[in-house]
Amino acid sequence: MTKFIDLTLNGISTGAIYAAVALALCLIWRATRIVNFAQGAMLMITTYIASAVINSTGSYVIGLVVALAAGLVLGAVIERVVIRPVENAPPLNAVIVALGLYTFLIAFAGMIWGATPRAFPAAFSIRGYEIGGTRVLFAPNDTFIVLVVVAVALGLAVLFRATPLGLQMRAAAFKPEVAQLLGVRVGRMFTLGWALAALTGAIAGILVAPSIFLAPNNFDPILISGFVAAVLGGLDSPPGAVLGGLILGLALSYVSGYEGSALAPLAALVILVLVLMVRPGGLFSATAERRV
């Protein structure tokens, strides 16, 4: 029984990370109709930057802030320079550009920081809480993770639903030309979408780094899981992304706990395929499967 509770709590914590990555993917999809396969690589870079700052200043908070700022800048620059030209092209072009970006960023990180994994500090203690004499697999740091992700999700929800800026971003995402005719600076909204997504990704990276260690390719499974979570929820639905992250986190936790962790990527693949077979547009998708 304790094992089940442990796995559940662990699943909630990892699920929060997947939810954050899924949110980032969802943001970019809603803003520019592109799946950002480079999201994992982008958040890897910002995490490395945080690591460098933390090492040189000794302060976690400064590292965190710098990483967030780096995320904003990185996202904005990438959208403006690399993505803008393919926003109106066939979707395959954007997929390829994103993959090219992914390939380049991984190589770039390898060039600067090498392939040896590094440790990354956690913000809070990682020793599990003691409940009734037993130690559970859920620590103060995990509470921090869950709270941060919930705060980010709520913050984004408020931004989009209750502010004029959010309204503009949504309009630009749904009907760019109409939004233009209403005075919305559509290009800026796209850039902002990518910047916010990169910010969200940066947060996810810093939260997950302590447990997976920092190396160029270590964030790939996070991207896959984030993508599966986003698809589970339907790429168009931010609440779906959060829910999808939670479901996936729990599922993978149980699989790892009872069958071994090597099976986890395979489990993610199976879940993805099963969901897509039933709902080719994700669980919360508005349209059902296209039938002719």
Binding site: I96, P265, P280
Partner: protein
């Protein structure tokens, strides 16, 4: 629908025979090192041709074709090492196995669109090699499988090198793929693929079974990749899980895109790129005395930049660029107002070598 006109068959045959002669002569002139590179190029060509057909002709995407290469390589290795099969039947079996695996994958893929298809094949690329670790007894885990190099037949004489023979094996495999795809491109089936690519609903309304067409395209491209995997095993004599990583699948995509999606000639360009680029970048790294970290990652960095730049500047790849040049030259000479040059032609996979 699968029937192919006799004229098409003859044309493809002529092209293949011409290519075979060129390769025959060429392979005799090369050094052993270059012969090995030629062999490498042929297995890349086999999988790239299938991939470019899948993307360009049938309009689907696969980020996981490295997995089919893996299947082909492992099949051949298992059959030769454990079961003592000869090379040719082993490679034939590899094609069959790849097609069989391609069937459910293709059927699943036919229900997905756009990013969902890309993501699912991506997950496939990451997930399949993990199987190698899961069944260590059969696949020997991280060590992979090794086979003995194919024996050079005695009738070629004692001086015929192994590398030369391997190059020939590869060329034969590549020519088979070329022949099949040349015919496919000009057949009714090929037209059906294009119809489905361009407008699924219209195609369905014309009576085409969209799902079946897409699955079939996937199966064919998986078969080509399986053949490539067989050549891989014959040439490199080793199959390990780590060789078929996500990185490989993305390199394959790069090769297909740079060559020009849908273009068989483009697949040749792409194969050349994949064979030559790692060496070039190593040379550059050495001549610039770059550090270990930088030189290790240089090929990947270049792939990434190439992918981005080609997509932004020449979406139709090298072959598209060549076609545009030829088109504009023709237009200028023909005095047609130069408007032809501005039209972007959809890649037709023109099979001229």
């Amino acid at each position: 629908m699968i029937a192919v006109r006799q004229s098409t068959l003859l044309r493809s045959l002529a092209i293949v025979v011409a290519a075979a002669l060129i390769l025959l002569l060429l392979s005799g002139e090369l050094s052993a090192y270059r012969q090995l590179q030629l062999a490498e190029g042929t297995y890349f060509f086999a999988v790239l041709a299938g991939l470019t057909m899948l993307i360009g002709l049938s309009g689907q995407v696969s980020l996981g074709h490295g997995a089919f290469l893996c299947v082909g390589a492992y099949t051949v290795s298992l059959l030769i090492a454990d079961e003592g099969w000869a090379l040719a039947p082993a490679i034939a079996a590899a094609v069959v196995v790849s097609c069989l695996i391609g069937l459910p994958v293709g059927a699943a893929a036919s229900r997905l669109r756009g990013p969902y298809l890309a993501g699912a094949t991506l997950a496939f690329a990451v997930g399949l090699p993990a199987l190698g670790d899961k069944f260590p007894s059969l696949f020997d885990g991280e060590n992979g499988l090794t086979i003995n190099p194919p024996a050079v037949p005695s009738w070629l004489g004692a001086n015929f090198s192994l590398e030369h023979w391997q190059a020939w094996i590869g060329c034969v495999g590549g020519l088979i793929v070329l022949f099949v795809l040349l015919n496919l491109y000009r057949s009714g089936l090929g037209r059906s693929f294009r119809a489905v690519r361009d407008d699924e609903i219209a195609a369905a309304l014309c009576g085409l079974r969209v799902g079946r067409m897409q699955t079939l395209a996937f199966v064919i491209s998986a078969g080509c990749a399986g053949l490539g995997g067989g050549i891989y095993a014959a040439v490199l004599n080793l199959a390990t899980p780590s060789a078929f990583s996500l990185t490989l699948s993305l390199s394959l995509l790069t090769g297909a895109v740079v060559g020009g999606l849908g273009s068989l000639t483009g697949a040749v360009w792409g194969a050349a790129l994949l064979v030559l680029l790692p060496n070039w970048s190593n040379d550059i790294a050495h001549s610039l005395s770059l550090s270990g970290n930088v030189s290790d990652n240089l090929p990947q960095a270049i792939y990434g930049v190439v992918l981005i730049v080609v997509m932004l500047a020449w979406p139709s790849g090298l072959q598209g660029g060549v076609r545009a040049l030829v088109g504009s030259a023709r237009a200028r000479w023909g005095g047609n107002g130069g408007n032809e040059a501005k039209r972007i032609e959809s890649p037709e996979g023109g099979g001229e070598k």
